[in-house]
């Protein structure tokens, strides 16, 4: 009897050790690694979400998995400046815009949509109040393309516009369209405003009259090719104040993230443009028929579920982004801080732009780069 009890205890300990050991062995195996590329606009949010995802010890086919985040600007992907190949590519891609996904597909990249939208951020006009007041005649007119482009065509010198002499020339800000999705979105907003038509699907953006209209605006922004502020013009505006950028059209998230710094320089006033291009942040997966495809499919599916979950969606406003299918509340510090400057929790966005063909847009980008 006593002997049987001893055997039972020994067996129990052996089984427990086997279970624990197996568990430890599995977890000590190097995890399967996957890469998710992301536009810098959503990088910080995604990084935090991926950290928590990795810490949740997700498993695919008994192997632990982890995701690594790598930033890459949307336009760089579909213009082929950093070409993904079958041998070198991320497993998933959180683009800033479904426009990028569409253009990437048309350029031959093997990606397919997983989720239409994980976050949103619209375009917002803004500027330092002293400058906005001069342009809008103290708010009598709305800051938008139809005010700015004709004004700059007549004059780009503040003194002649009714501002102070030592402000010198008007300094506009938007990202480099060939590199930054925010800059590209700004161009589209301008094109739609010029054509007075949000549907750019058949627009001819090479027409001389349009480019003549756009040229003074392009000339009024810091050079794309040799200025150190083009990487993140919103940051430059916040850290350098109106001496560097006075008026800008940025994605809302960039305003919100830099608003405190800007307001430390001078109060900023914001408004939404009439022709709107909302960045919608779709998640895509690299599609191929390699042996890894199945594991990738499962892993990206798990990540997608994680990012869509309420917990992750709720953190988006902390990064200046709007959840995919709800609006931020005034509890969020960033949005709360932005409200006095003109940020709206539930804005009535202008007409939503349908983008033109990739070729049409590429031609415009090249023209802008050549002119600034």
């Amino acid at each position: 009897m006593r002997r049987r009890g001893t055997i039972f205890i020994v067996l129990f300990i052996l089984i427990a050790a086997a279970i624990v050991g197996a568990s430890r062995f599995l977890s000590s195996q190097p995890p399967l690694e996957f890469t998710v590329a992301v536009d810098p606009l959503a990088q910080n949010w995604l990084q935090e979400a991926v950290n928590s995802f990795n810490n949740s010890q997700p498993v695919v086919n008994t192997r632990r998995i982890i995701f690594n985040v790598t930033p890459i600007d949307d336009p760089v992907v579909w213009q082929g400046q950093h070409r993904w190949t079958p041998a070198s590519h991320p497993d998933a891609w959180l683009a800033a815009s479904s426009l990028s996904l569409r253009y990437a597909l048309s350029s031959g990249l093997s990606v397919s949509n997983v989720t239409d939208s994980l976050a949103r951020t619209p375009l917002v006009w803004g500027g330092y109040v002293s400058r906005v007041d001069v342009l809008t005649t103290n708010g009598a007119r709305k800051l938008d393309w139809d005010l700015l482009a004709p004004t700059l065509a007549n004059n780009d010198n503040w003194e002649l516009l009714g501002g102070q002499k030592d402000w010198q020339f008007v300094k506009l800000g938007f990202g480099q369209p060939g590199n930054k999705i925010g800059g590209l979105a700004a161009l589209l907003s301008g094109a739609a405003s010029y054509l007075k038509n949000a549907d750019l699907s058949s627009a001819v953006l090479s027409q001389k009259a349009f480019r003549d209209w756009l040229l003074p605006v392009v000339k009024a922004k810091p050079s794309f090719s040799n200025s150190g502020i083009t990487g993140d013009p919103a940051l430059a505006m916040a850290s350098g104040g109106p001496s560097r950028i006075e008026i800008a059209l940025f994605p809302e998230a960039q305003w919100l993230l830099n608003l405190q710094g800007m307001n430390n320089q001078e109060e900023v006033r914001l408004s939404y443009p009439a022709y709107q291009f909302v960045l919608d942040f779709p998640l895509a997966i690299w599609s191929d028929t390699t042996p890894q495809a199945s594991d990738r499919q499962t892993a990206v599916g798990l990540l997608n579920d994680w990012l869509n979950a309420e917990a992750q969606q709720a953190t988006l406003p902390n990064y200046g982004l709007r959840p995919a299918s709800s609006e931020p509340t005034a509890d969020n510090p960033l949005f709360k801080f932005g409200i006095p400057s003109g940020i709206e929790l539930n804005p009535t966005l202008g007409q939503s732009i349908t983008p033109p063909s990739a070729n049409e847009l590429s031609g415009l980008i090249q023209w802008v780069d050549a002119n600034r």
Binding site: R3, T6, V10, I13, L14, A16, A17, V20, G21, R24, F25, S27, S28, P30, P31, N51, N54, I66, N68, P71, D73, D156, K165, D166, W167, Q168, F169, K171, Q176, G178, N179, K180, K219, A220, P222, S223, F224, S225, N226, S227, G228, I229, T230, G231, D232, L235, A236, A238, S239, G240, G241, P242, S243, R244, N258, Q260, G261, M262, N264, Q265
Partner: protein
């Protein structure tokens, strides 16, 4: 103990041992593996940064590497995830930084002339300003740097550092507050210089200084500003300077007029910081980064300024030096290193690092760090900073401005005065001095005029002041032929050479005597006061002769040379046989 119990104990010990031996990370124990060393599997990121960044960069690198060695991701501060490679940053400058122009050329050389003596192969190049990244792309004919993604890390506008009393005098005269190049040029063109501005103890000459635009960021930005100013005077109303303006002879003449104010140049800001700190007698205004001005007003220079220097943010605009991290796109940088460089970029933008950077007088680029001390009026700066900036011209225009340098810079008449007394034989001082003098000549630009005089018991004019290109061989031969013997007629030699230079009263060149002496005067018929009177007489000229004494060796007459330097509003340079070549090399950059 029964057998069964012994087996049981053994099994329990085995299981416990097994569990203890294998933790979730596959480590063999729970003891921290922390060391202060570079992890074996680290991705190495090498960096070369601008000299002024040496005020903070070594600390930032050290703290980054410390976190890496502790097994953490320096950006998150959390333990590295499984599979995450550590990143290690290596400072290629030994904590000193490197002149942006020199490093840029080294990176270009690494690609197009790899056997050149100046070759640099960093992963990150952090110049003071992105001009250099644009120039590197232009001159190499390839996209060595992605300008759109070269992240600024510390902001500093280029300012005119001017004595508060001088700035106030200008404001009083013009009757308004916003001052720029326009008003500075009015001082230059005023018939009696500062004496027209009610400056007590005034002098007609205006003293201005900036660094060499071929290698110094501040010098380059200042020269571009001068071209803007000269172009505006000539009717240019556009926002961005073009190559046509740069090549316009009237614009170049305008720049030459501004450069006529130059007392002397320098390759490094370091000299100017020490130089201007001595007071308004030395320089009236000098182009510096704002952080340099704060450095001086905080009393960190060797000399304490007698009054406050203030930042003049030129009303026409200036340039921000944003200290961008340029990640090099060349075959010596792997994608893994580029990714790792981004990690370090993120790290330096975090608030703790930005606070360190701000404490050294740079404006933070992270907008979450609110501008605070040392940005206070006591340090001569405003919280607002510049009201506007000048447009950065295209790379080919910047290149054109650099190429025009030899046409617009103030040329110099330099008399090299070398002590050949018997004591120069000790420790082979004469041999080292000859080598240094030859190196000095190597560094001079061809537009200068140079002469050579030696002295011992008597004064020996060896090469008459003439075009450097014409007399170069003669200078070399005479320097090589110098022999040490006899006494030291320092005072007579100085008085004589200063008088020689003073003969050409219409000269618009820098007029300088560089005197190298290793001992007390033993053979002059005159006395020190004669030399001082001669110097002081020249100081009333619009273009006075300057004397730059080099106290050579331990027996040099420091007191006499210091008096001479004070009279000339210069500083004594100290050299010995080990460093005399470097000392003369630095002095050569004044011209």
């Amino acid at each position: 103990m029964p057998v069964s119990k012994r087996i049981l104990a053994l099994i329990v010990m085995l299981v416990a041992g097994l569990l203890a031996a294998c933790d979730g990370n596959g480590n063999n124990n729970g003891v921290s593996q922390q060391t202060s060393n570079k992890p074996a599997d680290a991705v190495e990121v090498t960096i070369i940064y601008a000299p002024e960044s040496a005020l903070y960069m070594p600390r930032v690198i050290q703290s980054f590497n410390q976190l890496t060695s502790e097994g953490k991701n320096p950006v998150t501060g959390q333990p590295r995830a499984s599979g995450e490679k550590p990143v290690w940053v290596t400072d290629l400058t030994d904590g000193k930084g490197g002149s942006s122009g020199t490093v840029m050329q080294g990176i270009i050389n690494a690609i197009i002339a790899p056997n050149n003596s100046n070759v640099a192969k960093p992963v990150i190049f952090e110049p003071s300003v992105s001009h250099w990244l644009a120039l590197a792309n232009e001159r190499s004919g390839r996209q060595l740097f992605d300008l759109a993604n070269s992240q600024p890390t510390a902001n500093a506008p280029v300012v005119m550092s001017i004595w508060e009393s001088r700035l106030q005098a200008i404001r009083n005269k013009v009757g308004y507050e916003d001052i720029g190049w326009e008003e500075l040029l009015q001082v230059l063109n005023s018939p009696n210089g500062w004496c027209d501005y009610d400056i007590p103890g005034c002098r007609p000459a205006v003293y201005y200084g900036h660094t060499d635009p071929r290698i110094s960021s501040t010098g380059l930005s200042t020269l571009i500003s001068e071209f803007y100013a000269a172009a505006r005077i000539n009717g240019f109303t556009g926002r961005e300077l073009t190559i046509d303006q740069v090549r316009d002879t009237a614009v170049q003449e305008g720049v030459r007029n501004i450069e006529a104010l130059i007392r002397h140049y320098s390759s490094r800001t370091t000299e100017f910081k020490e130089y201007i700190a001595q007071g308004p007698n030395y320089l009236d205004f000098v182009a510096l980064e704002e952080n340099d001005l704060i450095f001086i007003n905080e009393g960190k220079t060797q000399y304490k300024p007698p009054e406050k220097l203030v930042a003049l943010y030129p009303k026409e605009g200036t340039f921000w030096h944003e200290h961008p991290f340029g990640i090099v796109n060349a075959d010596w940088v792997t994608q893994e290193q580029k990714d790792a460089a981004q990690v370090f970029t993120q790290y330096i933008l975090l608030e703790p690092q930005q606070e360190i950077i701000m404490a050294e007088g740079f404006r933070p680029v992270n907008p979450n760090v609110k501008l605070a001390f040392p940005f206070v009026p006591e340090n001569g700066v405003t919280l607002e900073g510049p009201k506007t900036v000048l447009d950065v011209p295209a790379a080919n225009v910047i290149s054109g401005i650099q190429e025009s340098w030899s046409l617009v810079k103030k040329q110099a008449d330099i008399l090299l005065l070398i002590d050949t007394s018997g004591s120069m034989q000790d420790e082979d001082k004469i041999g080292q001095a000859k080598a240094a003098a030859l190196k000095f000549l190597d560094e001079l630009s061809p537009g200068n005029r140079v002469g050579l005089v030696s002295f011992s018991d008597s004064i020996v004019p060896r090469v008459k002041l003439a075009s450097f290109e014409t007399v170069r061989q003669d200078l070399d031969a005479n320097i090589n032929g110098l022999r040490a013997d006899g006494g030291t007629a320092l005072f007579d030699a100085l008085a004589s050479t200063i008088n020689d230079l003073n003969q050409d009263t219409a000269s618009e060149r820098i007029r300088a005597v560089v005197v190298l002496s290793d001992g007390e005067d033993t053979a002059s018929s005159g006395v020190l006061n004669d030399v001082l009177r001669t110097i002081e007489a020249s100081r009333t000229d619009l273009n006075p002769v300057i004397v730059i004494p080099v106290a050579y060796g331990s027996n040099a007459d420091i007191d006499a040379l210091s008096s001479i330097a004070r009279a000339s509003a210069t500083t004594v340079q100290s050299g010995d046989p080990n460093n005399i070549t470097r000392v003369l090399e630095i002095i050569s950059s004044y011209f």
